[in-house]
Symmetry: C2
Subunit: 159 residues, 2 copies
DNA sequence: GATATTTATTCAAGTTCTTGGATATTTGCG
DNA sequence: CGCAAATATCCAAGAACTTGAATAAATATC
């Protein structure tokens, strides 16, 4: 269906990548390239590699997560040091954080593409993340835990 | 003094232009070019012309005003339709707006470079802008009025 | 409306960017 | 360790961007 017949420049393609990452479960650059092809954008794996690096996309387990650059806001790298505990409950995830950092954490979560979070509410040291259903919440909790455990090195050295 | 001996790329130069515009009273592209030269950045008038256009700088009377691009926020073009009245009072300016639009108007004013505004407070249909002194407030009021009167065409067609 | 000032555009050259193909490197797993 | 999968990097060619000089167009001034 998607036959976007246009040369598409780099920026457009990267925006598309962010969208695809948040919609589908993509775990390899080849997969991303194929997803792009589905949308009518054909590029080599090398290009996907460079795009992911420039976008600062993070690979956690075998799932890409993207946090759109926003100078002035906290980055995903604060999670490991701010998050103390993660507990899924029904379709929610209760995240315990260092005192005073709940706002920063929820801000990051709000901006991460690829997380099945509908919205967040932050207190002083607690963030409540709402997902659509129990399964999604479980997945979200797992991913956040992975992020906190993982070396925050993104998929490439963003110059 | 300012002898920034570096080739300076386009972005750096444009950021510098925004700063110079808000600090000094610049009214011609030649003047901007000279101000840049003072900082050690030498460019032709043609380049300044293109920079101002790309930055979306507006010329009101013989004063440049810049509103940094911020997709997602209202642009300066909303002023003519939202602002109903402008009254300077001491070091303040009281701006009457269409009901519900005071927030948008204050947001724009906060972001305009070159206006001598220390800060703003918005109600429902009123914005209070605080300047450092009576003279500055008077100037601010005049500039806002000019903006509202002027054709909002920026200094160039930002492609 | 003629002149001077200010701004925009055209042109050409030099530079940088972008990208695919090939290849090297890294990572994960037995 | 050795293999396979995944990712990063080198290289070269073409595309796109950047910029100054010259010039045209627009605007202001008298």
């Amino acid at each position: 269906m998607g036959a976007t017949r246009a040369p598409v420049d780099k920026t457009t393609r990267q925006d598309l990548i962010l969208r695809l990452i948040s919609e589908r479960d993509l775990g390899t650059q080849q997969g991303v390239a194929e997803a792009l092809a589905d949308e009518g954008v054909e590029v080599a794996q090398a290009t996907v590699s460079r795009d992911l690096a420039e976008l600062g996309v993070l690979k956690v387990g075998n799932r890409y997560l993207a946090l759109p650059h926003d100078p002035g806001s906290a980055g995903i790298e604060v999670l490991p040091s701010f998050v103390l505990g993660i507990v899924p409950a029904r379709n929610q995830v209760v995240i315990h954080t260092r005192d005073g950092t709940a706002g920063a954490v929820s801000s990051v979560l709000d901006r991460v593409k690829g997380l099945k979070i509908l919205g967040t509410i932050a207190g002083q040291d607690t963030v409540l993340a709402i997902s659509s259903d129990d399964e999604a919440a479980e997945e979200v909790a797992g991913l956040i835990a992975d992020v906190c455990r993982a070396k925050t090195r993104p998929a490439g050295n963003v110059e």
